[in-house]
Amino acid sequence: MIVLLGVALVVLGFALRINPLLVVTVAGIVSALLGGLSPLHILEAFGSGFAASRSITLAFLVLPVIGLLERYGLQQRAKALVSQAAGLTAGRLLLVYLFFRQLFAAFGLTSIGGTPQMVRPVIYPMAEGAALRTYGNVTERMTEAIKANAAAADTVGVFFGEDCFVAIGSVLLIAAYVDASYHLKLDALQIAIWAIPTAIAAFLIHGFRLLRLDGRLAGMTDDRP
């Protein structure tokens, strides 16, 4: 029972808005101590956990390329390109991005897209360019809303697309787990197929909210700059 204190520490730390890096490190050490791990074992767990999770950090490998392109005006070009397309609003543009992000992820192509390589350099500036063309000005509150929605469209798209692909982590995990624990052989395709109804619902729900974004942005145009 007492090991759950570590979980409580995490919840409390986030609630009190203490630096998450500190919360996570301390909570990890505390739960490990409560679970009876030796100090050496804890150090080893931090080391092996870090070594095993390095692939997450590789997302930042593209930053020099993206930074270089930004230096030469990639964001500005993305904005200019959109400002020529009549009828394209921020919400509609993000809806199109959501669709393609989900579709590509459903075919296992999750590396097309993502915040470092697509949202920051291209999608967010395009959405802001569309808002600028529609409303004539973009206030700070609008910028925040556009950024939040661009990032959210990316995440929702990849989450509820990738599960329709048979060789993605979560599908393989389900198949491997039920096989190892209960000797139940589930075909990966059977599992992936049942992700499709939720994928469609995710597109409809989030897509509807993206279309309503335009109305919300219109209400923010009168803010003081």
Partner: protein, 318 residues
């Protein structure tokens, strides 16, 4: 056989270069701790399994504490002005997209094509690392294409521009890996088995609706705490999904588990513990509200969770 190690060296090398650039920056507000943060982080990425794991653990904890106690800061990096960027965008036009699109294109080509190549009966790319190798190759190709298209006076400017973006993310860059490690520590300390035992106590024997809601809600809540539906799935499935829903009530396991996992994904949309999805993007987009993306996602998560519960009540019991 080509494995992913060299890509970690590439990424670690980039972080170390950023650390060195900061060390030489006299105007940086937190010069030495920030330089130490990126150099240590980079060294740890390079070291990986090459050093004893306790030593790597010491380096990782030291890096985390540098960021955790707020000792790191963000410097100002000299870059082009908005006017210069507008002018350059007008001149280069759509050529600017070519290096950007090179990254996904080459990644996919290497990941899909490279998997088929074998030399003397051995696969060229190590199984499971094709996409990572693809990303590494794609980054190098895109950097070369970028230098050809943009013709920067000094190609090393890519590193200062990379530093600008990496410093925008700051210590949050380490958070996803620390959360993955926390998940590992939770498992080793037995947090999962405890939660499973508690959940098993509260499910009544014969209520299908209640059992489905407990399974789905448990997936979502446990995912919110752990930041990852993968960690929640074995616990909730062992406690409720398998013994009660499948064995006792005769649910079809494939749709039950598939949609149960997606109920967990709804939790992922709501939690700062899924830092690489929910906290790193706002940092990289330089948002003022670092929880702004989560706030945007919560309504979608709630509606989609309800849809998932509805599907779980109907589909597996047909």
């Amino acid at each position: 056989m080509i494995g992913p190690d060299w890509i970690y060296w590439l990424c670690g090398g980039f972080f170390i270069i950023v650390g060195v650039l900061i060390a030489f920056d006299r105007t940086h507000p937190r010069r030495w701790p920030t330089a130490a943060f990126w150099c240590l982080f980079g060294a740890a990425l390079c070291a990986g399994n090459l050093v004893p794991s306790w030593l790597l653990g010491v380096a990782v904890i030291a890096t985390a504490l540098l960021g955790g106690f707020g000792l790191t800061g963000r410097g100002t990096v000299r870059t082009t002005s908005d006017a210069e960027r507008e002018a350059s965008a007008g001149r280069l036009r759509n050529w600017l997209f070519v290096p950007a699109l090179t990254i996904p294109a080459v990644t996919v080509i290497v990941a899909l094509g490279g998997a088929r190549i074998s030399i003397g009966g051995h696969a060229l790319l190590m199984a499971g690392s094709q996409t990572l190798v693809g990303l590494g190759v794609a980054t190098i190709v895109a950097l070369i294409v970028g230098c050809v298209v943009l013709r920067p006076k000094n190609p090393a400017v890519a590193f200062t521009e990379g530093r600008r973006l990496l410093e925008a993310i700051g210590w949050a860059a380490l958070l996803p890996q620390m959360l993955a490690t926390l998940g590992l520590l939770f498992t080793q300390a037995g947090v999962g088995t405890q939660v499973g035992a508690i959940v098993q106590h509260i499910v009544p024997e014969h209520s299908r609706v209640f059992a489905v809601i407990v399974y789905a809600l448990g997936m979502a809540l446990f995912t919110i705490i752990m930041g990852n539906a993968f960690a929640a799935f074995p616990i909730m499935t062992a406690a409720v999904g398998w013994p009660i829903l499948v064995q006792q009530m005769g649910a079809n396991p494939a749709p039950m588990f598939a949609i149960g996992m997606l109920a967990g994904f709804c939790g992922t949309l709501c939690t700062p513990m899924a830092a690489n999805f929910n906290l790193v993007p706002p940092a990289l987009l330089e948002m003022r509200d670092k929880y702004g993306q989560i706030k945007t996602q919560i309504p979608t998560a709630i509606a989609l969770f309800a849809v998932n519960v509805g599907l779980m009540l109907i589909v597996p019991f047909r």
